[in-house]
Amino acid sequence: MRFLLIEDNRQLAEAVVDRLKLDGHVVDHAGDLETAWDFAATTDYDLILLDIMLPDGDGRSFLARHRERQSRTPVIVLTARSEVSDRVGILDLGADDYMIKPIDFSELEARCRAVLRRRGGAARNLIALGDASFDSLSGTLKVAGKDIQLRTRELRLFEVFSAAPGQIFSKSALVDRLFSYDEEVSENAIEVYVGRLRRHLQGSSVKITTVRGLGYKLELA
């Protein structure tokens, strides 16, 4: 997906860009409103992440102008906590959601998905995988002509595999992707979700295979 990040703190922006790139997203970073406008006017983004306090103005003015242009690109506002009292105004101005800094990236992922799903079909991510296909936005897996609705963790796990078929993922790496950091989860929990995905994929050429001692990988056969 293509993101526009509007954030004036360079270090934070770099970290966020790095982090989003890890998930395979393309991210443009604007440090002020003017740059943000240049980007927004020339590129079609799937999602805009907007900071409120910017050196050359208020992020809300960007929001208002963005909506005036009738752009359908969803906007998630990033705020410091005390600005939460402004959230009514933020949502009224047309923001799709807001998040409080520091950003929890699994939360950001979850909120992005929810926002994009609500916007509906603006950016359908239909991936063909062998004889199956996967829509990460709606979280549906199509196997042998049948739509299967994945639950949250199954969906996230399958996203990880489908982004890099053939790559081996260790159990601990998968735990990092599936569970938030405040949860104490044993690595065996992954087996439960891998098991569920395998059941869903029955009857398809797509397989999740165990690489002994290393982890799992997706095979398209």
Partner: protein, 458 residues
């Protein structure tokens, strides 16, 4: 808040001044009336005395060098007919006493055209004397014929006393009317003050607009200084809000950077020991940034509680919104958070604070409940108001911790390993209590925690 230091009352002072003025006026009027009455009484007595004396004088004839005086009956009867006054007279020709009371003195200074009067004591009684004279011809040439008529003053005094009583009555009446008028005037004079007070105290707690209602010119300085005080208050309020926002930004942004970098490092690292260390780092960062966030939340809540808004809030709608916002997060843990019974009920209060409180309860429920658990939220109308029950299927509150758990920084024992500062429930309790409500913690009969927020009728 302590009351103002009260010294004196404008209304009482105005009333007292008006009453003092009225009293002085009453006394003056009374004295003037009395002196006028005395004068009028004296004048009318003088006129009668003069008429009587003149009629005696007129009856005097000079014939053949002798002077005859026929005392006309009417001359004296006109004096004593009405009252029981005693009447005296004396007729003198030159120095020679002719008739009447020889001792009766004459009033000095009479001229042929004008009578003279004097008040004196005669035979032990106060009398008024009128003296008239005219020139008559006698054997010894032209001589002054002097007639003095006197009347006692007892009757006149009685009349005056009666009049005094009347004028005392009038004075008292005048004073009473003044008292009433003063009361009315002082009340109406302080009316604009009461109106101003009412218009200021009727305001909402965050209404810091200048007073726009018309006021009399005397109150203009007061109102304009009140307005400038409110303007300063407005500035300082928004400044402290800015300060909180700035502090939040400064504390949390570095934390955000560190956390993000740690997460990136975690994703890139293949070494299990490093990964474990990074996980612990992220955990600690989350802990401290959540603590900072809740402290700021708490500051924000305290700040907003000082000037609690009183809007009408649809509790069910507010709850639904909060649940909706939580969905992405609860989905991550595959926790099913569901709106149960949703009665339509309104409470008076600050929507942002209530939402913050609800979010804190929900966050707790999601945080302390294991994967795949269920959280149910019920909003119900009760006889005394409204209540929200948030039930989860987690481990529940340990019985010994119930009371302590809501205190600041007191975490429940079973919260081991779960990020949270313990401020959450403190914030919830403070918000609910500021709305006149009550937070109670209990455990469901079938296990799991239940947080109940009760609100009074709006």
């Amino acid at each position: 808040m302590s009351g103002p230091f009260i010294k004196g009352s404008i209304r009482r002072r105005l009333l007292l001044s008006l009453l003092a003025g009225a009293a002085v006026l009453t006394v003056i009027v009374y004295l003037v009336m009395q002196s006028v009455a005395r004068q009028v009484a004296e004048e009318s007595q003088d006129n009668v005395l003069t008429a009587s004396a003149l009629s005696i004088l007129d009856s005097a004839r000079s014939a053949g060098g002798l002077v005859h005086v026929d005392l006309p009956y009417a001359a004296l009867s006109m004096l004593d007919s009405v009252t029981d006054e005693r009447v005296f007279y004396a007729i003198r020709l030159g120095e020679e006493f002719l008739s009447g009371y020889a001792d009766l003195p004459a009033a000095e200074g009479s001229r042929p055209t004008a009578p003279a009067f004097r008040s004196t004591t005669f035979l032990g009684e106060e009398v008024r004397i009128a003296t008239v004279r005219r020139s008559v011809s006698t054997d010894l040439g032209q001589k002054w014929l002097t007639v003095s008529v006197a009347q006692t003053l007892a009757g006149k005094k009685r009349t005056l006393a009666r009049f005094n009583r009347t004028s005392l009555g009038i004075g008292a009446g005048f004073f009473l009317v003044s008292v009433l008028l003063s009361a009315v005037i002082s009340r109406s004079a302080t009316q604009p003050l009461h109106r101003l007070t009412a218009s200021v105290s009727r305001r909402g707690p965050t209404d810091l607009r200048p007073v726009a209602a018309p006021v009399p010119s005397e109150m203009a300085p007061l109102v304009s200084s009140l307005n400038s005080l409110m303007a300063r208050l407005r500035t300082s309020l928004s400044r402290s809000e800015d300060f909180i926002a700035e502090a939040a930004h400064r504390v949390r942004t570095p934390l955000a950077i560190v956390r993000t970098k740690a997460e990136v490092a975690l994703r890139r690292s293949g070494d299990d020991a490093t990964r474990a260390a990074l996980r612990e780092m992220i955990h600690a960062i989350d802990d401290s940034s959540r603590t900072a966030g809740q402290l700021l939340d708490h500051a924000m809540v305290t700040f907003r509680l000082d000037t609690l808004l009183r809007e009408k809030i649809d509790l069910a709608q507010l709850t639904r919104d909060s649940i909706k916002r939580l969905h992405p997060l609860s989905d991550m843990k595959e926790i099913d958070i569901a709106a149960g019974r949703m009665d339509s009920v309104t409470v008076q209060g600050d929507a942002i604070l209530l939402q913050n409180a609800l979010q804190n309860v929900f966050d707790n429920a999601v945080k302390y409940t294991p994967n795949g658990a269920r959280v149910t939220v019920d909003v119900s109308a009760t006889a005394r108001g409204a209540r929200i029950d948030i039930r989860d299927t987690g481990p529940g509150f340990p019985a010994t911790e119930m009371a302590r758990i809501t205190e600041r920084f007191q975490r429940g024992e079973n919260a081991e390993g779960v990020v949270g500062s313990g401020l959450g429930l403190t914030i919830v309790r403070e918000v609910v209590e500021a709305h006149g409500g009550q937070m109670t913690l209990s455990n469901n009969p079938g296990g799991g925690a239940c947080v109940t927020l009760q609100f009074p009728q709006s």
